[in-house]
Symmetry: C2
Subunit: 428 residues, 2 copies
């Protein structure tokens, strides 16, 4: 069987009409044949009616733009009970998808790029979407962040340094008043933002309206005490019909940022909230690992980050480095790039390599992030600091100052008792 020439691009391809998607796949077929199958299954699977002289491939077919063999494989990474014995090869194919097939809509786009056509193409055992590239005029049809990095800096008056974000802990079980008291201590110690845990939504035992009201009052006290502006990030993750009322109530109460778990909600929900949000949106990576951590199968986390940026995430959290998150520097850098790369008129989002940062992680995170346009997010290292949340927050600012002064954390700790306690407690 030979590859269907109708699914390959030639020099005449009008790039402004196509989205480019990079896929890495494993096949035991001739690579050109496998890539053509992929293009066909992701677009005009059947491209004419029987007995009618027509061909939908030129206008609607996906087209292979480039193809290379990355290497041989001893076996495929995903089960393939019905495929041949090999030899197996890993290939990278860039496909051009006709934008008019799905429009500037995230769910229809995902239905093509990560749908049935991708994962059940003949001869392809495992496949992973590793990048997408959008023409500027197409990107312009998505909302993108309302505030972005620039808007966040203006809102908070924070310049020339990263943002310090704390997740209030204990994450589940505190009353709204207890929660607000801890958040206030964190703000007073130096946090820019105190946020709800991604597992703390609006609940019967901690109604978001109460939490937002008490946190709003606490935030204003902390702002007066420190002379700095602060954010309370309210987790409004909920069913679609509750998103707008929760937003309205939370903002009315005193929340001035939102947390959305964009993958459990669906990316369209983030875009939906973006339409009426009066405050910045923090988009969290919960559940992304189910799509990204299967080796050779699924999608790169940086693609999910790019989609969250298109949907309207002002701040995008993704798995960071370190012992707990087990994410490579390359993956973290790809996520940062997805927040910052040119994307038509879409503003950059603030990248936040998440997952329990501790002061000892600060130098490595800063090196991975390059520059100061990023956020550090800490949980237990602030709220389980033996000196309390204010000391925990202070220890992060001290760690940052050490990097600025180009001295080691240990040296800085000699004159910074909170950092010294952090290093003792969280070094492990």
């Amino acid at each position: 069987m030979t590859a269907d020439a109708g699914f390959f691009a030639d020099a005449s391809l009008d790039r402004s009409r196509y989205l480019l998607a990079t896929n890495v796949f494993e096949t035991d077929r001739e690579p050109r044949e496998a890539a053509a199958h992929l293009a066909q299954e992701q677009s005009t699977a059947q491209w004419k009616r029987p007995g009618v002289d027509e061909d939908f491939r030129p206008r609607h077919g996906a087209k292979v733009v480039s193809l290379k063999v990355l290497g041989d494989l001893p076996r495929p990474s995903a089960p393939t009970p019905f495929d041949g014995p090999g030899p197996w090869r890993r290939c990278e194919a860039v496909l051009a998808h006709a934008i008019e097939n799905f429009g500037a809509k995230i769910p229809t786009l995902l239905s093509v790029l990560l749908g049935e056509g991708a994962f059940y193409a003949p001869g392809i055992a495992a496949i992973r979407l590793t990048d997408i590239a959008l023409p500027d005029a197409y990107a312009a049809q998505f909302p993108g962040p309302q505030f972005g990095v620039k808007g966040l800096r203006e809102l908070l008056g924070v310049r020339d340094r990263p943002f310090f974000i704390g997740v209030v802990k204990p994450n589940i079980g505190l009353s709204p008043a207890e929660f607000a008291a801890l958040a206030e201590e964190g703000w007073r110690g130096g946090l820019d933002a105190a946020k709800d845990d991604e597992m703390l939504p609006d609940t019967a035992w901690s109604p978001l309206a109460d939490r937002a009201r008490l946190c709003g009052e606490a935030r204003k006290r902390a702002e007066s005490a420190t002379g700095e502006r602060k954010l309370y990030v309210a987790n409004i993750t909920d069913e679609i019909g509750s998103l707008r009322p929760l937003h309205d109530n939370a903002v009315r109460g005193g929340a001035n940022a939102l947390l959305l778990n964009s993958i459990p909600l669906g990316l369209p929900a983030t875009r939906y909230v973006r339409e009426f949000a009066q405050v910045p949106i923090f988009s969290h990576f919960a559940m992304s690992a189910a799509l990204t951590r299967g080796p050779s199968v699924g999608v790169d986390s940086s693609v999910l980050t790019l989609l969250q940026r298109l949907a309207g995430g002002d701040v995008i959290l993704f798995p960071g480095t370190g012992a707990r998150m087990r994410t490579t520097y390359d993956e973290v850098r790809a996520n940062i790039d997805a927040c910052r790369r040119p994307l038509g008129p879409i503003a950059p989002s603030l990248p936040v390599p998440g997952g329990s940062s501790r002061p000892p992680d600060v130098p490595a995170t800063m090196a991975a992030c390059s520059g100061v346009d990023f956020g550090l997010v800490a949980g237990r290292a602030v709220f389980n600091h033996p000196g309390g949340p204010a000391s925990g927050a202070r220890s992060f600012r001290q760690a940052w100052a050490a990097v600025q002064d180009d001295i080691s954390l240990e040296e800085k700790a000699r004159t910074s008792p909170e950092l010294a306690r952090s290093l003792e407690t969280f070094r492990s």
Copy 2:
């Protein structure tokens, strides 16, 4: 390090307050320690404030209900740059989650079961959610299907046989009039339902309003001609703000069922549409493979099917058996069970093992499905049948009759020319 006893259930556990989640994971730790970490990370990661005499574990902590070692592993299935050298074991743990932590809300539930806590628990390299069990009173808080199997049978007057569903092909490129003409042929030949491809939403070159109006007219003609009631299943997959207008326009035009790509949309979007849908919802599996096909990582497709049932899917499509879909009978049966199992007051959904069924697949699919409460979905085998869509549809009814008569497809084909052409054309 020993396992934290606060994260294990004892006989006093009030099952009515807990959702049970079964997880299979790979660890190089002592299994009880790994399971306790998992329970902790999925609930009260930090369960007290420093210096305060309190303990949130009894009320809010997840609890290990059962734990067994399934076997040894030569290596973990997911990359673990920071974990130890092993030995590695595969374990199955059932965890009880306090329902009051997340409520009867799909996105908050998913944020716990498939969130950061699951995939980044210390010592767990790979994890897969394989089943969930809900107390009846909790299940009752979800909408479930509005029509279900019973309602679909009443709506269509179809008794004692499966439902025959065709995906109109060519899937992308037809004008609304061409599309409606093919659907009409399919209905006249014996399809119960003609549906949009999951990659055919509302587009500029095939506006759903036009497609629905023309399909509505064609459907009524086919209903008159055959004396049977028929469904046109309109794909309204789109951004959140467009779902209700698309539903209203499609139904007004003549669509009498909806297709939703529930994973790209997010399951909350399906529940949202369920609130106002006047017609049955077909929930499609597009993108589920990105969550399910990574070996040892992610979630079983049957869990996604159960969640689509809770959200309101009347008809649930999932990957079927056969050469193209590469899904095992066990997985197909687990999906069927997720549609049919007792679930408080939630009605059964109609299971549809999807992915290009052909007449030769009918006996095996029927055997896997047991009984007649299921749907068969075909694309090319109907719409690329050499005799045209009516012949393609007829060949499916003939294949079903052969199974009913307990004769082979080949024997039936002797008196059924459309089936004979199908067997010649689609056998490979």
